[in-house]
């Protein structure tokens, strides 16, 4: 930036300060050029990417293992504890035919079936 003339700072102190601040931003931009990346920038970046990628894969693998273990444990629990208990409390103990016969033991049509009398 060219030398700033004191006359250009005339006006209110605030205006002068505003102008100096704008000039400072422009100077700061010029005084801080884009740096060249070092030779290790890309290799180091890919290392970090791989590290995180394998880290994520490990987390997912562990999560999958936990899910499988939990599923197996739940299945075993259901098989060993819950199913026998449910079967013990079963309302219908006999087969379908037995249950049906027991239900209609005094019904007329069973007489028909046994006697063959249609009347």
């Amino acid at each position: 930036m060219d030398r700033m003339d004191d006359k250009s700072m005339e006006g209110s102190p605030l205006e002068g300060r505003e102008r100096r601040l704008d000039a400072l931003w422009a100077e700061y931009r010029q005084a801080s050029p884009d740096p060249d990346p070092g030779p290790d920038f890309m290799p180091s970046l890919w290392q970090k990417i791989d590290k995180r990628r394998t880290g994520n894969a490990r987390v997912f693998r562990r999560l999958a293992q936990v899910c499988v273990m939990a599923t197996v444990a739940l299945t075993l629990l259901m098989g060993a504890v819950l199913i026998p208990r449910i079967q013990a409390e079963a309302f219908f103990a006999g087969s379908y035919a037995e249950e049906l016969a027991a239900e209609h033991i005094n019904a007329d049509y069973t007489d028909f079936l046994t006697t063959g009398d249609l009347r």
């Binding site: 060219d2 030398r3 100096r20 400072l24 931009r29 801080s32 995180r52």
Partner: protein, 205 residues
């Protein structure tokens, strides 16, 4: 855009070679923005790598290649913000905290070959960083993006996902705070010492 949409689409679909090309195209520019945002040359590459790392793992969330640049700058601002927040919690040693002897050693290490122009630039950077250090991290990032990086309000709207009026208000307040800091700096250093920092030595012209 420094790269074409097709390359971004390829990177988005998991092509590592395409991603590599995107990084190579943008890294210098992004490192420059980070350098001006955080003001610590020694940490610029680390923050830059964090930006591209985040980009790699979030590229699949990018809706279209057209919004790639605002997306990348958003990641840059966020990474710089996280860095500044972390730094705030750490004890730091700036030049002003060092003893006179340490400063002398630091100067000697920098070498007597450092030209006047470089000294002037260093002073400008120090003054800008000192002023930016007096406002919040959010204000600092917004001001640098607008005033130093020259991003338009429309671009900032896309980066911050905030409407233009809210940005204007935010920028105005941030600028007022910096102006107040500049006034304090000038009062402390003598009426126009701070202004003199960014004037060239008359002997140079």
């Amino acid at each position: 855009m420094l790269v074409d949409f097709e390359l971004i689409e390829r990177a988005r679909s998991g092509d590592d070679g395409a991603f590599n090309q995107v990084v190579q195209a943008y890294r210098k520019r992004i490192l420059g923005t980070i350098a001006r945002l955080i003001g610590r040359p020694e940490d610029v590459e680390d923050v830059g790598q964090e930006v591209f790392l985040r980009l790699y793992f979030s590229l699949d969330q990018l809706r279209t290649a057209e919004v790639f640049e605002p997306w990348l700058y958003r990641l840059t601002v966020n990474a710089a913000y996280d860095y500044l927040r972390r730094q705030k919690r750490r004890p730091e040693s700036r030049m002003s905290d060092l003893s006179e002897q340490q400063v002398m050693y630091a100067d000697a290490a920098a070498g007597s070959k450092v030209r006047d122009e470089e000294e002037r630039r260093t002073k400008i950077r120090e003054l800008a960083q000192s002023l930016l250090g007096k406002v919040s991290e959010e204000d600092r990032l917004l001001l640098v993006m607008k005033e130093v990086e020259g991003r338009t309000l429309k671009e900032l709207e896309q980066i911050y996902k905030v409407n233009e009026n809210a940005l204007k208000v935010r920028l105005f307040r941030a600028r007022q705070r910096v102006l107040k800091a500049l006034q304090a700096e000038e009062n402390a250093a003598g009426s126009s010492d701070a202004a003199r920092v960014f004037r060239k030595d008359p002997s140079e012209s």
